[in-house]
Amino acid sequence: MNEEIIRLQAIKKYYDESTHVLENLNLIIHKGAWTSIIGPSGSGKTTLLNIIGCLDSATAGSVFINDTEITKLNQTQLTRFRRENIGLIFQQYHLVPYLTALENVMMAQYYHSVIDEEKATETLKKVGLGHRLDHVPSHLSGGEQQRVCIARALINEPKILLADEPTGNLDQKNGEIVLNLIRQLHTEGHTIILVTHNPDIAKLGQRIITVIDGKICSDSTCSSEINEK
C-alpha cells in the first residue's frame, strides 16, 4: 500500500503570464490508494488531474508515474503511456454517440491493442449493463452512460483510474451506483484519483487533497478556506 505510484515535483502550469493554474505543486500518491481532490471551481484540480492523466502537460516540474517521467515524453509517447496505464472517467461521459455501449468499450480496446468482444461484454456486465450492450448512448440513462464510461476506462486494465466529477451529472440514485462501482474498483486494487466538488464524496477516499489557487493544502488545514471561498 505504501508503494509510490505517482510523484509530482514542483509542478507549475501557466496558460500565460497572468494565468497561473498550478503553483509549485508537489504530490506523492501511493499504489492502490483512493485520493480525492477537492477544491472550488477554477482552483486547478481538473488541470492537476489532466496532467496526471497525460492529457495536459506541465509548464515546469516533473511528473513520475511508475518511475516513468512523463513530463519528458512527447505527444505520441504520452498517448501510448496513457492507454497502458490510465483509465479516465468523465463527468460528461463522452461516449461516441453512434456506437453502441459495447462498441464504445471495444473502441478503447481497439486503440489500445486488439478488440475482445467477450471481455468487453463481461466488463459491461460487471458494471450492470449486460442488458444494454447494443444500446446507443442516447437510449441510455445518465447513470448507464456513466457506467459505460467506467467500463471503457476499465477495459484495458489500467493501474490508475482518474475520475473527474463522475457523479456531477447524475441524480442521487445513479450517483450511488457509480460510487459503489468506484468503491468496488478500489477494493480490487485500483489506484483512484477522484476530483469532486462534493466534500461527502471526497470523504469516500482515504486521502483528501484540497487544491486552492493552484496550491495543495491538507484537508484539515484548508477546510476553512474552502468554506470561505
Binding site: 505520441t76 492507454r83 479516465l88 468523465f90 463522452h94 473502441m107 486503440y111 489500445h112
Partner: protein
C-alpha cells in the same frame, strides 16, 4: 473495429457526406466529360474540319494562276499541263496513307449550255463521286488495295437536293450548282445539253453531250456555279483521256505534320506540287488548342470547386466531432489512427463521387458531343481510373487542412467543453 467506426460515422452523417460526395461528383463529372471529349476532340474536330473541304491541293508543276479556292492556286485550265489519272493511287502509298481520308481529282472545262442566244458559259467539273481506286503497289502488304474515294468523301457537308451520282460509270447524269440551276432554269429530272468548243487552228470542233440533273448542290461556294459529272464524261467531252487538273486531298493530320503529306506526295508523283490550305490547317490547330486549353481550365476550376466543397464539409465535420476526436485520443488513439479515419472517409467520398461522377460525366460528354460536334462521344473506359483517381486525389488533398485540424485537437480542452 476501424471499419465499424468508419461505417457508422459515415452513416451517422449521411447528409454531410452526401454534400461532400456531390462536390466530388461535380468535379469528377466535369473532368470525365471534358477528358472524354478531349480524347475524342482531336479526331472529332479534325473530321469536323474535313467536312469543310480538302486541306491539301495537288496541282501540276507549272506557271499557275490563282482561281477558285481561297489561298490555293489551281493549275491554269488553259495551260496544257495535267496530272495523269493513272497516278492517283500513289497518294495512298505515302507513310501517312491511313490519315488520307479521301481525295478527288478534277478536270475543269468551260462549256456552253443552252441553245442559240440562250447559251451560257458554265464551268464543267469532272470528278470522282464514289469511286473504287485500285492501289497498285500498296505501301504495306497489309494495306487494302481497294480505296473508295471521291467528292462525297472530301465534301460530305455539301447540301444536295436530289441525289448524288453513285455509279462511277454514269455518263448521263449530272449534279449542278444552285446558281447554275437558277440561271438555266433547271430542276431535278430536267435534261440539257452541254457543248464544248475546241479550237483546232482556225476551226472550231464542237462536241455535245446530253445530261440529266439528278442533284442540285448548295455550298455557298464556287461549286454553286459549276456542273459536276463523272471524270470520264469530262475527259471524253474535252478529248483529254486520263488527264486531270487538280486533286483535292482530305488529310486527317492532327498527330502528323501536314508538310509530311506534301513532301511524300511530291516524292511519289514528281511532276506535281502539293500545297496545304494553310488558313484551314492553322485555324484548325489553333481552335483545337484553344478548345483543349479551355477544357483543361474548366476541369481545373471544377476540381478546385470540388476540393473546396469537400474541404468545407470535412472542416465542419472536424468541428462537429471535436469531442469525439478528443475522446478517441484520450482513450489512446494515436494521430495516425485519427488521420487514417479521416483519410479513409475522404477516400470513400472520392471513390463514390468518382464512380457517380464518371457516369454523369459520360452523359455530360454525350451532351457536349451532340450540342457542339453533332456526334456522340465514345465512352472511354480508361477514363474510369483517371476519374476515380482524380476524385480520390481531390478528396484527400481537400482533407489535408481538416486532418491537420483534427490532429491538433487537444483532448484536455475539448473534453472540458472549451
Amino acid at each position: 473495429m476501424f471499419l465499424r467506426i468508419l461505417g457508422k460515422s459515415i452513416l451517422k452523417r449521411k447528409s454531410r457526406i452526401a454534400i461532400a460526395v456531390i462536390s466530388v461528383i461535380i468535379g469528377s463529372a466535369i473532368a470525365t466529360a471534358l477528358l472524354s471529349v478531349s480524347l475524342d476532340v482531336s479526331e472529332k474536330v479534325g473530321i469536323e474540319f474535313r467536312k469543310y473541304g480538302a486541306n491539301l491541293m495537288v496541282v501540276p508543276k507549272s506557271d499557275t494562276i490563282q482561281v477558285g479556292f481561297p489561298g490555293v492556286e489551281f493549275g491554269s485550265v488553259t495551260e496544257q499541263r495535267y496530272i495523269n489519272e493513272s497516278d492517283l493511287w500513289k497518294i495512298k502509298t505515302i507513310y501517312w496513307r491511313n490519315n488520307v481520308l479521301g481525295f478527288a481529282p478534277f478536270l475543269y472545262q468551260v462549256v456552253n449550255v443552252g441553245e442559240g442566244a440562250e447559251r451560257q458559259n458554265v464551268v464543267l467539273a469532272g470528278t470522282y463521286f464514289d469511286k473504287n481506286v485500285v492501289v497498285l503497289q500498296p505501301y504495306s502488304p497489309h494495306d487494302n488495295p481497294m480505296f473508295i474515294t471521291g467528292i462525297q468523301k472530301i465534301s460530305p457537308w455539301w447540301s444536295v437536293n436530289g441525289f448524288w451520282i453513285t455509279d462511277q460509270n454514269d455518263t448521263t447524269n449530272s449534279m449542278i450548282g444552285i446558281k447554275v440551276a437558277e440561271t438555266l432554269h433547271l430542276r431535278i429530272g430536267d435534261s440539257y445539253t452541254i457543248h464544248y468548243d475546241e479550237y483546232v487552228g482556225d476551226a472550231i470542233n464542237e462536241t455535245s453531250h446530253n445530261l440529266t440533273v439528278i442533284g442540285i448542290i448548295e455550298t455557298d461556294g464556287y461549286e454553286d456555279n459549276q456542273i459536276f459529272v463523272n471524270l470520264q464524261v469530262a475527259q471524253e467531252l474535252t478529248h483529254r483521256p486520263g488527264k486531270i487538273h487538280t486533286i483535292q486531298v482530305s488529310a486527317l493530320c492532327n498527330a502528323c505534320p501536314v508538310e509530311a503529306f506534301v513532301e511524300e506526295i511530291q516524292a511519289n508523283i514528281p511532276y506535281v506540287e502539293a500545297r496545304t490550305v494553310k488558313q484551314l490547317a492553322s485555324a484548325e490547330m489553333n481552335i483545337l488548342g484553344k478548345i483543349e486549353n479551355m477544357m483543361f481550365l474548366i476541369t481545373i476550376v471544377g476540381l478546385i470547386a470540388s476540393a473546396l466543397g469537400v474541404m468545407t464539409t470535412m472542416v465542419t465535420s472536424v468541428i462537429e466531432r471535436q469531442k469525439e476526436i478528443g475522446l478517441m485520443k484520450s482513450v489512446g488513439a494515436e494521430n495516425k489512427k485519427i488521420i487514417s479515419l479521416f483519410l479513409s472517409e475522404a477516400t470513400i467520398i472520392g471513390i463514390i463521387g468518382g464512380i457517380l461522377g464518371y457516369l454523369i460525366g459520360i452523359l455530360l460528354a454525350q451532351f457536349i458531343g451532340f450540342s457542339v460536334f453533332s456526334m456522340s462521344i465514345t465512352p472511354r473506359f480508361e477514363v474510369i481510373p483517371i476519374s476515380i483517381g482524380l476524385s480520390v486525389g481531390v478528396a484527400l488533398l481537400a482533407s489535408i487542412l481538416p486532418v491537420r485540424r483534427a490532429v491538433s485537437i487537444e483532448p484536455a480542452i475539448v473534453l472540458r467543453g472549451e
